[in-house]
């Protein structure tokens, strides 16, 4: 085109491989295009701006460019004719009035005697033949002609159909239809026959798989098959039970258990080191060690799977079991008798129990025997049974029979207490168990919250039992089992309620310190709670939501509480034991523990000794409450034997005699020696072990009056001292971990992905997308503004031209007028002149 009309957008730099769309622009062309478009759209709108009427062009094919003008005209003509074909005159009644009967034109009915029902077979009826005849009367030529003719539809439509033609058409159609139907039916029949034939052929090939009904017949005919086969087949067809886990062998079970424990232990170690606290936020769901799969875990599938028990299929569910138990009561009474006879000759159960808690057992045995309490023994046996085999023994069954079978979860602590009060330990356990079973979380929605509350109640109940004048520690001993189970079910709720107790206790302690300036040891209940913490939670974790506060609380007890009585010493030593137990796996260092043991040793010494050590708070080097553990009585010293300190002594020390008190003092001292020994064993790996133990060693070697002690005590003393002494001193200088060297600056180019040149690179994908959107929006906005501006310009131009036109017209008219006036004037003047002349 004209080079003067081409605008070239010159590129500053030529870039290889870049395709440019807009290097050449044709402003003239695009402008004229735009103007044309506006003429069609904007201008029209502008012209019709104040008009409400709309002109609609309904001319046939007016804007259809595909049709040629001639064709267009023909079509229009056809339409016109069609319209005219109908009624010509509305006032001409006779012409086109159509009478109907049942919605059908009477005229039509007149014409055709009967209507052809296309669906029905019309062969048998005579109607069609009549029709045909009628058609024949009309002459078959027309029909034939019509068949042969394949004129375009247009033509046909052009001329109105005569009646004859219509009939012909109809007959032809029906005939055709009939024929088609017949051929279809025939082909279907043929196909079925063929299929049958084929099937028979194949049937012979796969004759074995016969349908059931046929087989039965065959069986009747055939000789009876092997019974074994029948059973096998029957089994094969029996409804299949889903396989549960295979019954495992002993070794497998043991191995699995070991693997599981190993995994748990590894988990524990990981938490103990506290290395990956942050990384490992999600922990595998925890399972109790002795999880019996009895539906006590919350988020477990509760469907009952087929399981095997003692080699038999175990299908019945819990309720049925209980019912059975009821039924079996009579039988079990017999068992009871047997049991009693067994008990007389130190039953096997006892031996089993010895495995479980041999220490405890051995302690208890002597007392029991002394008391000769068979009842107690029986209880013990029961307990073992219930623990190991989860099978209720007769005694328990008898007790159970008095109790209701369903319990609602108590809503308040009072109702809970009233539920348990007055019952034996076994009954209490059963009640708790039944409460748990009846209100299992899977049974109803609110049960979870209720059972969570139950944990709190149970805890409170234990605290109350412990703070009685005669603390029922044996009961507590049993009650920790349901407590543990509940804790396994609801760890969060359990930790919350224990934390609540700890916070309360710590708050009380703090208040006491603020008011009185010193604190006293809490009651036995707190000690029991702290012990329970160690039972329910892993104490070796680097950080634990319950255990760490418990640590802090115990530390406060050992540093803040005054030691004024022997009970305080016992409580303190109890807490020392707790500390040792808490750190027994993690081997963490507890300075308070060593301080306290040193203090306890200090108060066992006579006053006014030269010191090579310093005791710290709460112990004082001088002042009151010294010699609290000092025993001077030779007799008592001689008659002492190591005994376990009964815990109830912390509430009722006053009633005991002087000798007994002295014995308890000595027991405490022995306990202290033992704890020192354990500490020494525990902390031996610490680099400054000798510095930590230095004061204790000095006290032991230089101040303790060993020779005055009874022999047993000397044993304790020497074993402790030996543990302290035979550690090698071993120091290696510290070396800091090497700092990671700062890498040198390198000159290899840093490759950064360029998304869009000139844009900010360092941003996330989302940010980039956002920026792109903003950019696009901006561009669109600019374009739109430009368009609007151009529109306005166009409109202005139009208006201007309009005005110009109007003006020019007016000027023209004015000129005309003036001209005519001038001629008039001229004429008039001419006339005048003429007059004058005349």
């Amino acid at each position: 085109s004209n080079p003067f009309e081409v605008k070239v957008n010159r590129q500053k730099f030529d870039i290889l491989g870049r395709k440019t769309k807009n290097d050449v622009g044709l402003p003239g062309v695009s402008r004229s295009k735009a103007i044309k478009k506006r003429n069609q759209t904007l201008l029209r709108e502008y012209k019709e701006r104040e008009k409400t009427n709309v002109f609609k062009d309904k001319r046939f094919g007016e804007y259809n460019t595909k049709i040629t003008p001639e064709e267009k005209m023909i079509r229009r003509f056809a339409l016109e004719r069609q319209q005219n074909y109908g009624k010509k005159n509305i006032y001409n009644l006779n012409e086109d009035e159509e009478l109907t009967h049942y919605g059908q034109s009477l005229a039509e009915i007149e014409k055709l005697n009967d209507i052809v029902d296309s669906d029905s077979d019309t062969e048998e009826r005579g109607t069609l033949s009549a029709e045909l005849t009628a058609a024949h009367f009309g002459g078959g030529g027309g029909l034939l002609r019509k068949k042969a003719s394949s004129e375009p539809q247009v033509e046909e439509e052009e001329k109105p159909k005569s009646r004859k033609e219509l009939i012909e058409e109809m007959i032809a159609k029906s005939k055709q239809e009939k024929q088609e139907r017949q051929t279809r039916r025939e082909s279907a029949l043929e196909l079925t026959e063929k299929l049958d034939k084929d099937w028979k052929e194949i049937q012979t090939l796969i004759a074995h798989k016969t349908p059931k009904s046929e087989r039965k017949d065959k069986e009747v005919e055939k000789p009876k098959p092997d019974e074994y086969d029948m059973i096998v087949r029957e089994l094969g067809f029996e409804m299949k039970a889903k396989p549960s886990e295979r019954l495992k062998t002993e070794e497998e079970l043991a191995k699995e258990e070991q693997a599981r424990l190993q995994k748990l232990e590894a988990d524990r170690l990981r938490r103990m080191r506290g290395i990956d606290e942050e990384e490992n936020k999600k922990r595998p769901s925890h399972m109790s060690a002795d999880d019996l799969a009895d539906g006590f875990i919350l988020d477990k599938d509760d469907r009952r799977l087929l399981s095997y028990k003692d080699g038999k299929i175990n299908i019945e569910n819990e309720e049925e079991k209980e019912e059975e138990e009821e039924e079996e009561e009579g039988e079990e009474e017999d068992n009871e008798n047997e049991e009693e006879s067994q008990e007389e000759s130190a039953s096997e159960n006892e031996d089993d129990a010895a495995d479980n808690h041999s220490d405890l057992e051995s302690d208890l045995e002597s007392e029991e025997e002394a008391a000769g309490n068979k009842e107690e023994k029986k209880h013990k046996a029961n307990e073992n049974k219930s623990q190991n085999m989860e099978k209720l023994d007769p005694k328990r069954e008898a007790a159970k029979s008095e109790l209701p079978y369903t319990f609602a979860v108590p809503e308040s602590y009072e109702t809970f207490k009233s539920l348990l009060s007055g019952r034996t330990v076994e009954q209490q356990l059963i009640i708790l168990e039944r409460i748990q079973k009846c209100n299992h979380p899977s049974l109803a929605v609110g049960n979870k919250a209720k059972l969570e509350k139950l944990f709190g109640f149970l805890l409170e109940y234990i605290g109350e039992l412990a703070s009685l004048d005669l603390p029922e520690l044996r009961t507590i001993d049993k009650l920790v089992l349901p407590l543990y189970n509940l804790c396994q079910m609801f760890p969060e709720a359990a930790s919350d309620s224990i934390k609540f107790i700890l916070r309360d206790a710590a708050h009380d302690l703090e208040a006491l310190i603020e008011v009185k300036g010193r604190a006293t040891f809490p009651g036995l209940d707190m000690l029991i709670y702290l012990k329970i913490v160690s039972l329910l939670f892993p104490t070796s974790d680097f950080w634990h939501p319950v255990v760490t506060p418990a640590f802090m609380y115990m530390s406060q007890l050992l540093t803040k509480c005054r030691i004024t009585t022997l009970q305080d010493v016992i409580k303190g030593l109890f807490i020392c034991c707790l500390f040792l137990e808490y750190v027994s796996l993690s081997r963490r260092f507890v300075p308070e523990l060593i301080n306290f043991l040193l203090g306890v040793l200090h108060i066992s010494l006579p006053k006014n000794q030269a010191q090579g050590y310093t005791v710290v708070h709460p112990f004082t080097p001088v002042g009151k409450n010294l010699e609290l553990l000092l025993v001077r009585d030779k007799e008592d010293l001689k008659s002492w034997e190591k005994q376990n300190v009964p815990l109830s002594i912390v509430t009722r020390l006053k009633e005991t005699s002087r000798t007994e008190i002295n014995h308890i003092r000595l027991s405490c001292l022995a306990l202290c020696f033992d704890l020192i020994k354990k500490c020494a064993a525990l902390y031996e790996s610490l680099p400054s072990f000798h510095e930590i133990m230095h004061p204790v060693r000095i006290l032991l070697t230089q101040h303790v009056p060993v020779h005055e002690y009874p022999e047993k005590m000397q044993e304790w003393y020497h074993s402790a001292l030996k543990e302290l002494e035979n550690k090698v001193k071993h120091y290696t200088p510290l070396i800091c971990e090497k700092k990671k060297p700062v890498p040198l600056k390198q000159y290899t180019p840093k490759i950064v992905k360029v998304l869009e040149f000139g844009r900010k690179q360092a941003s996330s994908k989302k940010e980039q997308e956002r920026k792109q959107l903003i950019q696009r929006h901006k561009r669109e906005l600019k374009g739109a503004i430009r368009e609007i501006r151009k529109d306005n310009q166009y409109l202005a131009r139009m208006q201007l031209s309009e005005i110009m036109e109007r003006d020019s017209a007016r000027k023209r008219k004015v000129k005309e007028l003036l001209g005519s006036l001038a001629t008039q004037e001229g004429e008039w003047k001419a006339m005048k002149r003429k007059k004058w002349k005349n």
Binding site: L264, G274, H544, F589, V616, V728, C736
Partner: protein, 510 residues
């Protein structure tokens, strides 16, 4: 009521006509202290009104009071005789009120005090001393002495009454004369007892003088009980004089042996409310050095005062650091004044001119003692030690000794050595902190682990850690929210049913 009406009638009669002056005795009689507290109170009120009115009317004898009998014989005019007689009654009344300040009922005591102070005010206004020349001090010192003596009994704690008295101490002149009176009182009382401490008396004195709020500038001294025209010229209006009296009072008080509790209390406030108001703070030097030498908590507390003297008044204290070093014993982590002590220690050790051996000795000793410290102290001392390492890079040998002997059988550091230079601290390593990396408290273990790495440049801010208490620490732990709660996997078998349970060995469930 009848009683009060009678007293009122009596008062009117006495004030009304001199002929019924003898009825004064009716008013004075209940003040002997034998009556019910209510009666005493009403009688005191009446007396206060009576003598208040008399003082205002100037109907009391002015000048040195002659003997009562002598006055009758001598050739005084009848008017004078009446005045002398009335002045004697006034003196009786004051004496009774002085006695009443030791009454059991606090109500009575309080009223007696207030009445006496009212008399003080009135007497200052209408002096009973002859003004011989212009500028004579008209303040009734003797009367004030009675009040002060009443406030400081030797056998009971009168802190309540003293706190009531504090409002009068706002007056500059009252304060001045009270300080003088207290000085005199201490001199008298303590001389009698011959160096034996009087706990109650000293306690009372302390509670009287410890809240004394000295003005900072002379221009602040505007509140006086007695308005005198020529105040500018008087000694009373000069801050210097006030300071002098203040100083003398404290020195007299501290000259005598104090009970331990009081000793600590004195030391606690010394640096804040005593030393800045003394003319010569260095006079406290003796007291402080003695206190510093006592050892234990008292030494720790004396440190603060001593620091001010060293820092602002150029006190040369030989072997200061050695002494400070010897103050470090296991109890420092357990005492109440831990925060204050470590704050000061931090100040003392902040100088970068200290020799490395000294700082190393301090570090080593502090960390050795940390082996017995509670967690809240450990959380403070570990950053403290880190800061020392930052200030004294030479000490980093303690945590990083690459070329040292591979194996040692002893820690070279000598804990028992008093002299930091001989403690061989620089040859040692900080095994103690390494041990603390195994501490049971997670935060302590984490803090101790910092020493394994090379330290950052910035010093830790320990000011927030100084006051950390065990309860706060506990609270912080309890409030932490856990995502999940790990559980013990070992099945419970009973309270003492664990494997190798220590409890089962030593305790029984009976």
């Amino acid at each position: 009521m009848a009683r009060e009406a009678a007293l009122a009638a009596c008062l009117e009669a006495v004030l009304g006509s001199r002929s019924s002056a003898n009825r004064v005795f009716e008013l004075l009689e209940p003040l002997a202290g034998q009556e019910e507290p209510e009666d005493i109170v009403s009688a005191t009120r009446t007396c206060s009104r009576l003598f208040g009115a008399l003082l205002e009317r100037r109907e009391l004898f002015v000048g040195p009071l002659p003997d009562q009998d002598a006055s009758l014989a001598e050739s005084y005019s009848a008017e004078d005789k009446y005045r002398i007689w009335m002045r004697h009654r006034y003196r009786d009344c004051v004496g009774c009120l002085g006695e009443l300040m030791r009454h059991e009922a606090f109500q009575v005591k309080e009223l007696a005090l207030c009445t006496l102070m009212k008399f003080v005010e009135l007497e200052a206004q209408y002096p009973l001393i002859k003004i011989e020349w212009k500028g004579t001090l008209t303040f009734p010192c003797d009367l004030l002495k009675v009040v002060v003596d009443g406030l400081l009994p030797t056998e009971e704690d009168t802190s309540l009454l003293i706190s009531r008295f504090q409002e009068y101490m706002e007056y500059n002149d009252v304060r001045y004369f009270v300080m003088k009176a207290v000085t005199a009182s201490i001199g008298q009382v303590m001389q009698k007892t011959k160096e034996r401490p009087l706990p109650f008396y000293q306690q009372n004195v302390f509670s009287l003088i410890s809240p004394i709020n000295m003005p900072n500038k002379e221009s602040e001294m505007v509140k006086f009980m007695v308005k005198q025209d020529n105040r500018e010229e008087l000694k009373l209006s000069r801050l210097q004089a006030h300071k002098q009296v203040f100083e003398k009072m404290w020195l007299t008080f501290l000259k005598h042996k104090l009970p331990t509790g009081l000793y600590k209390k004195v030391l606690v406030i010394l640096h804040d409310s005593v030393l800045p108001y003394m003319n010569e703070p260095t006079l406290m030097m003796d007291f402080l050095t003695v206190a510093y030498g006592i050892g234990g908590a008292i030494s720790l507390l004396a440190l603060n005062g001593l620091f001010i003297l060293i820092h602002q008044h150029n006190l040369e204290y030989p072997d200061f650091y050695k002494k400070l070093y010897s103050l470090l014993d296991p109890s420092i982590y357990h005492v109440k004044y831990r925060a204050r002590f470590f704050h000061l220690t931090d100040l003392f050790l902040s100088s970068s001119h200290l020799p490395a051996y000294l700082v190393a000795a301090f570090i080593k000793r502090l960390s050795r003692l940390a082996l017995t410290a509670p967690p809240e102290a450990l959380l403070m001392i570990i950053p403290f030690i880190c800061n020392l390492f930052r200030r004294h890079p030479a000490c980093r040998l303690l945590v990083h000794r690459p070329g040292g002997p591979a194996d040692m059988s002893e820690d070279p550091y000598v804990m028992e050595e008093e002299e930091p230079s001989k403690s061989k601290a620089l040859e040692s390593s900080l095994w103690e902190i390494q041990s603390l990396q195994n501490h049971y408290h997670p935060d302590v273990a984490r803090a101790a682990a910092v020493l394994n790495q090379s330290l950052s440049e910035m010093e830790d801010d320990i000011s927030g850690l100084l006051e950390l208490s065990a309860y706060e620490l506990f609270d912080r732990e309890v409030k932490k929210k856990a995502v999940d709660v790990p559980l013990e996997f070992e099945q419970v078998r009973g309270l003492f049913g664990k494997k190798n349970d220590i409890f089962a060995e030593h305790f029984s469930l009976d």
